[in-house]
């Protein structure tokens, strides 16, 4: 059944377009930096300038620019389509009159969205690595904490970073899935889910509500950069892990509470 869900997802033109967009973005980024040089106006680590010195940092430059909007957009679209998309096509009722249980269907939908997130992040990462090698020098990588390490170790760290980025998007899957069970209109669900991400990003810039920052799903999104320190700093990554896990469990519980008792009238 997982095979069925995945092939259904990956055969859709929309999914392909989303993935293509995420995979092309690092190339665009690389080209821009290659042409016009680095510099990011002084927010956080300047991955853009670093990319001009080493291919590995193009991955970080592109991921940190994709993360606030493009990744959540893609993940929202896919996760919110889980139930609402089936409902809008009229296929939901036919899935549910097979002997498959609602809980199982919901679990498979969750799993499918999670796999999409991993494919998107790892794919964008690999695409960024290739673009980096094409545009920029390879060689020893200078870490954020100042030490240097081998290029292959740098590549490994970049791949690990993509896994952490995928982990950071798990909250969006949870939120998207939950909203997906409340409506039969997939676009509405996707906008709702993306709206939550944007709201979280806005709140995380308002210092008056600093108290709730640790609860926001986007709060620890740049924690993957901590991989590029020696020793690797795990505290923020750990907080991100817990934060994302809580949002996922919350989102899934809400989705289950709604979906298991829902009257299917679509």
């Amino acid at each position: 059944m997982l095979v069925s869900e995945l092939s259904l997802l990956l055969r859709r033109r929309r999914t392909k377009v989303l993935l293509a967009m995420l995979f092309v973005a690092p190339w665009l980024m690389g080209f821009i930096i290659f042409q016009f040089g680095g510099g990011n106006g002084g927010h956080g680590p300047d991955f853009l300038t670093m990319a001009t010195h080493n291919a590995v940092f193009l991955v970080l430059a592109s991921v940190s620019s994709l993360l606030p909007l493009l990744f959540p957009l893609a993940v929202s679209l896919i996760a919110s389509d889980s139930i609402a998309g089936e409902a809008s096509l009229g296929t939901l009722r036919y899935l549910l009159i097979t002997p498959v249980s609602r809980m199982k269907l919901l679990l498979y939908k969750l799993l499918t969205s999670l796999i999409f997130v991993v494919i998107a992040c790892v794919g964008a990462d690999i695409s960024g690595l290739i673009a980096g090698v094409v545009f920029f020098p390879t060689g020893r990588v200078v870490l954020l904490s100042g030490q240097t390490t081998s290029f292959s170790h740098g590549v490994l760290l970049a791949l690990l970073a993509s896994i952490l980025v995928a982990m950071s998007l798990v909250s969006v899957v949870g939120i998207g899935l939950a909203i997906s069970t409340f409506t039969d209109i997939p676009v509405g669900a996707a906008l709702g889910s993306l709206g939550m991400v944007i709201l979280s990003e806005i709140l995380s810039n308002i210092t008056q509500v600093r108290g709730i920052w640790p609860l926001l799903p986007t709060n620890y999104w740049l924690s993957f950069a901590d991989l590029f320190r020696n020793p690797i700093r795990l505290d923020v990554i750990g907080k991100d892990f817990i934060n994302q896990g809580v949002w996922l469990v919350f989102g899934f519980s809400l989705a289950a509470a709604r979906f298991l008792n829902k009257d299917i009238t679509s």
Partner: protein, 316 residues
């Protein structure tokens, strides 16, 4: 009973859409579930299939009442609910394959002998509804009739004991309707119970052994098709120049239902309350009525339906 409901009641926050509906669908029957659009048929079907939870009442499918057991029984049942629902970007074949894949693990769990559907079996399913040639076309490109037939094919993917069809001939051309009807008849011969809802009586009339009539959420009638016709008496039609005289004789002798008499150009018609039509004719002749023609006809389902619900294109 293939399907049995007791006191099914549902409202979606407003007035009851379905009110105290108790159905008994015998095994082996073709059961026509009739009613105008909006009479609660689809909601009842959705409750039977577990898509909608009733506010009150019970459903038993093939003897299983408890929800979890009922879930199991879904593997013995195929259904078309409120029109086809498929993925527009997949071909007819891939759509069937998708539903086969989703259902397989559960089917298998319930019946370990279940085998994965082969390409051949899916093709055979498509052939049964005449879609084999169009199997690689995207669902999006199907005509309404083809979509409807694909839904029937999906309902019959696995061997079934019970088929629930909600308006299965909607959008089909007359040829398609005939084909569906033939399919249903052959399925019934294989021992399948068929529950079919429709707002078109003529399509049900030829095939159904049992009939239930819904109106405004309530069940008005349930029983064999013959019993349903019997709710109306036979119609007596007389062609004569002496309608007035004939009417008074019929009334005087109590042969017909007084309110049913209709006098028209060159004759009259009335509902018979007696079986002895010979006596009626003799009495008329004896009374001096010149008879040109006499006929007696069973009412159609349409007429019985209208009499019951008071709804249709033409008045009673």
């Amino acid at each position: 009973m293939a399907i049995e409901t007791k006191g099914l009641t549902k409202s979606f926050g407003g007035p009851n859409v379905v009110n105290d509906v108790s159905l008994q669908v015998p095994i082996g029957s073709i059961y026509g579930f009739l009613g105008p659009n909006g009479s609660g048929k689809t909601t009842t079907i959705r409750m039977i299939l577990g898509l909608v939870t009733p506010d009150r009442g019970e459903v038993a499918i093939l003897g299983a009442k408890e929800p979890r057991l009922r879930q199991l029984q879904l593997s013995r049942l195929g259904a078309v609910v409120e029109g086809p629902g498929f993925y527009p970007y997949l071909s007819g074949f891939d759509n069937l394959k998708r539903f086969a894949q989703v259902a397989y693990p559960a089917q298998r769990k319930l019946n370990p002998a279940t085998e994965k559907l082969s390409v051949k079996q899916i093709n055979a399913g498509l052939e049964r509804v005449g879609l084999l040639e169009a199997k690689d076309k995207n669902f999006r490109a199907y005509s309404l009739g083809m979509k409807q037939r694909l839904a029937v094919a999906a309902a019959l993917l696995w061997p079934r004991e019970l088929l629930v069809l909600d308006e299965p001939t909607n959008g089909l051309d007359p040829q398609g309707i005939v084909e569906v009807r033939e399919l249903l008849t052959s399925l019934r011969q294989q021992g399948m119970t068929i529950f079919i809802s429709s707002h078109l009586l003529s399509e049900v009339e030829i095939t159904c052994s049992h009939v239930a009539v819904m109106s405004d959420g309530a069940l008005l009638f349930q029983g064999s098709t013959r019993a349903f016709r019997g709710t109306l008496g036979d119609l007596f039609v007389l062609e004569t120049e002496n309608s007035g005289l004939a009417k008074s004789i019929l009334l005087q002798l109590g042969f017909v239902d007084p309110v049913s008499i209709e006098i028209r150009q060159g004759g009259l018609s009335a509902k018979l309350v007696t079986d002895k039509i010979e006596e009626v004719v003799a009495a008329l002749v004896h009374g001096g009525v010149g008879i040109r023609a006499v006929s007696r006809s069973s009412p159609s389902l349409e007429q019985a339906f209208v009499a019951l619900t008071g709804r249709s294109g033409h008045a009673r």
